[in-house]
Assembly symmetry: C2
Homo-oligomer: 311 residues x 2
């Protein structure tokens, strides 16, 4: 279990460790998007990752690192959904149980995904406090190893591998756009770029949930308020570990409106024909309006979303 | 201009002719789908084709074959949308105009696509008769060359190339599932399989618009009635050219319900994270319930669909 900010070697080791389990996801391009932005853009397709989100990377890494300690008692976490599904999936890969604490208003698709991978769900009120209290209770009953969704260095090292792969394929990227929820993906991206790239790193956050922006600007951790945003994966507060890395290695945080995310989501669906979740549209929306000096890389973080056009 | 049913050589020539313009589309797989069906399945991703549908193949072939005749006067067609966008796009590739007759209830996305490729739209009532009458009128005013959406051997030869590519990559397919609207894709698939494959060819049609099924079973051409189906691309009647080929080279037509298509569409979105249009779901739905003896191939015909989950 990593007790320090992941080093270059830690990220490479995580990538080697998880590679037999995860997909090397494809990178998409779009003439239309390039024209709108005025720069060549590449989209890292983590919606096509195992479990439909980048979260499989961190979860698989944390599960493998903690396999000995968890043996027979399993893993536990609280998650708005994608990390829960990812941990259930990752635990199942090595034959362990996964106890998942979920908010009672979690999207149906995400609940179904956790169940499908064999996760054992306990519902709670949709607040961070309720999630953490319920997790502590279930953990004390089961002895399962808690894997925090983002404030965990093994998770961060795992998430960093998405950006590592993007930079290996596109070493000349000038700006990287990465959505921020709890900051696991962004802090991983910032570390991967620090060691393997030379891009400007831009965090992308809904203005309805601008706690990371406020924390970044003020230098002091500010918790998320429970405001509505279509980007349900980005409502979470930063953790102390992710905030520290972001404060040091991220260059800028861009806020995007609900309308900008909706427009960007429609681009993904209408032009790329790829189903991404609204959280992924935050990165696209930021790239569309942000003045960048060269080729842009955007991490499409996930694709788990309820859609039923026929009511 | 082909005056006969496309031969093996005609299909190969069409493929060579259009290859510089079209995408060699990817083939998708899904463990979940394989498990449900009990056979290995492959999905040919024509939703990722230029213009978002297989129609780019036939349109590009017909435009190139007729380029000399059309010079300076352009092309004209009537289409529920995908062929219209494809013809506008194909004509633009060689610097010609495209006049597109569209039903006034065509989906917004399809209207926008025709406009985007520079097509000149005339709207008409949503009946085959109104479309053909309006096309004749605009044709007489412009001298443009009429490219029928499906009842045209150059179109059929072009559409055959989708199945040609699938069979080249997966020569051992036992059953092919192909949606039927006017029959251009299906007759092309049946010919490609006749010359290059050894599969059973199954046409897939919404039961709300079962004219091809009735025609196939009775041996007499029966026109489509204007019933509602979510598969807006599959409402069209067969043409005499497509019906002749289908009657000879197709093995079976399977009817699918609206519910079965909705379920299959949700699979494409939730599992593959691919945005296909409901017409493409007809092929998936048929493959899900049809008893086939070996590996199945399904042509995902297009991905053009209005989606706005936020109203």
């Amino acid at each position: 279990m990593l007790e320090h900010i992941p080093t270059k070697e830690d990220i490479l080791a995580a990538h080697k460790r998880i590679s037999p389990y995860i997909h090397l996801t494809p990178v998409f391009t779009s003439h239309w998007f390039d024209k709108r932005v005025g720069k060549p853009c590449v989209f890292k397709g983590e919606h096509l990752q195992k479990t439909g989100a980048f979260k499989a990377r961190g979860a698989m890494n944390a599960v493998l690192v903690n396999a000995e300690i968890a043996r027979g008692q399993g893993f536990i976490t609280h998650s708005s959904g994608n990390h829960g599904a990812a941990l259930a999936w990752a635990a199942a890969q090595i034959g362990e149980s996964a106890y998942i604490i979920m908010p009672e208003n979690a999207p149906k698709t995400k609940v179904a995904a956790v169940r499908q991978y064999g996760g054992i769900i306990t519902f709670c009120k949709p607040t961070l406090e309720a999630r953490e209290a319920t997790a502590t209770k279930v953990q004390s009953q089961t002895g399962a190893v808690l894997i925090h969704p983002y404030n965990n260095y093994d998770i961060i090292a795992g998430q960093a591998t998405a950006t590592l792969e993007l930079l290996e394929k596109h070493p000349g990227l000038h700006t990287l756009y990465v959505p921020i929820g709890g900051g696991g993906l962004l802090s991983g991206a910032a570390l991967a770029n620090h060691f393997f790239g030379n891009a400007k790193v831009v965090g992308c956050e809904p203005d309805a949930s601008g706690d990371a922006y406020q924390s970044f600007q003020s230098g002091n951790w500010i918790p998320a308020e429970n405001h509505h945003t279509i980007a349900d994966g980005l409502k979470t507060s930063l953790g102390d570990k992710t905030f520290k890395i972001i404060a040091k290695h991220v260059d800028e945080i861009v806020l995007v409106s609900e309308e900008e995310m909706k427009e960007a989501w429609k681009f993904a669906v209408a032009r790329l024909k790829q189903l991404v979740e609204p959280s992924a549209a935050a990165g696209l929306a930021a790239a569309l309006k942000h003045q960048g000096g060269g080729p842009k890389g955007i991490v499409l973080c996930g694709g788990n979303m309820d859609l039923n056009p026929w009511g």
